[in-house]
Assembly symmetry: C2
């Protein structure tokens, strides 16, 4: 009971039970569709990578440089998730790569049913050409996307140098769900109080043997290891 303001503490129990039930139902439906998406992608002969990060951590810039680095030997398709705007898909299309923009209209993450639609549009855009590698760039959000399997084969979480090395400890569910952590904008390490050791240690406390790579899409430092990671994934 609140003595200062006299307000009543509400009974949230019934309410919470309904929320929990709806959330479970949503997540179960998402998981079923994610399994179907993964099979769908495999029938296309492709593998899919789900990119998760805060806004402005460099997901789209990473994709632009990755498209250049992989060259024409790997056929890439991209599904872009954003709340609003087509800007990211336009940046990718400028590289000559098919890109579907999924705008969530307010929702804070992509989900598997939306990506399912995106896969069909991507196939349409690819005009019958086979794709090897599909990147799914999630909505910029370091929290909510972690809960939603989209049918990807690898989940890559980006942490940019300006954000600070305390983020794995502060957003544990997201980093625990990662297959690979990319510390991006490493050309800025000299200008920020960012400890690669702290970020790596905290991430691996959450998930032992979690791969962590450090790179800069601007200078290209560390980029070779990322490209090798993708080649290994493609030839697995």
């Amino acid at each position: 009971m609140c003595d200062t303001c006299g307000c009543q503490l509400h009974d949230h129990h019934h309410h919470d039970a309904k929320v929990v039930e709806v959330n479970r139902s949503l997540l179960e439906a998402n998981q079923q569709q994610a399994v179907a998406n993964r099979q769908h992608i495999e029938r296309m002969g492709a593998v899919a990578v789900n990119l998760i990060s805060s806004p402005g951590s460099g997901k789209t810039t990473l994709l632009e440089q990755t498209i250049d680095a992989l060259g024409e030997t790997v056929r890439i398709g991209v599904i872009e998730g954003d709340i609003e705007t087509e800007r990211d898909a336009e940046r990718i299309r400028a590289k000559g790569v098919p890109a579907v923009q999924l705008t969530t209209g307010g929702a804070c993450h992509l989900d598997a049913p939306l990506v399912h639609g995106g896969l069909h549009v991507l196939e349409h855009f690819a005009k019958g050409a086979k794709l090897d590698l599909i990147f799914i760039e999630n909505v910029g959000n370091l929290v909510c996307p972690a809960t939603f399997d989209l049918g990807e084969h690898r989940r890559v979480v980006l942490l940019s140098t300006p954000e600070g090395s305390d983020k794995p400890a502060k957003y544990p569910a997201t980093f625990r769900s990662a297959d690979l952590v990319l510390i991006t904008k490493s050309d800025l390490l000299a200008h920020f109080n960012f400890s690669v050791d702290e970020a790596t240690r905290d991430a691996q406390l959450l998930k032992p043997q979690l791969d962590v790579l450090t790179l800069s899409a601007t200078t290209g430092e560390g980029f070779d290891a990322w490209i090798t990671y993708l080649h290994d994934l493609l030839h697995h």
Copy 2:
């Protein structure tokens, strides 16, 4: 119907109706509690500012420098929202200011009921001393916190230079809900392709006359205007 993978498109209508109903019920309960929080804060003789941004945009550093700049003439209290860890509250307490850490245990935003509890703990920490200004540092997330009124008097959205000036257009609901936008880490403007004009124009397209200030908590440039904004708020 999905021809490629043969999966069934589910009927989401009934499901969605339940989700919508639960969301409306949650938001109504939040709004009621937000109104009570605002009255509670006013009875304390204080005003409250809700700080929203992506992870690592500089909310806690802004608070540290703001505490120093306001000095002992303004009695400050801080409610820190994080998914995990007490780190931010420890940084604020090191400045001699009472700070409550609310860990959401996975949730992507603060809500008014949680902040209500935080206000009581903050009063306990303040040991009967009157507070003038309460900062509520939200969970680092540029999407979900926008929907939840916490009972604040002003909502301040931070956008840091490394994130890029396209963010107001990409996260419109958040910037539309702001009373003030702070472009932070302005000492880095020379190193990034960030247009203050683009960010300001796009934010004001969403909400005409929205105040936008540009500052660096590191070098102190632009900080005076922010401190003046807070003094005006306190003496309104």
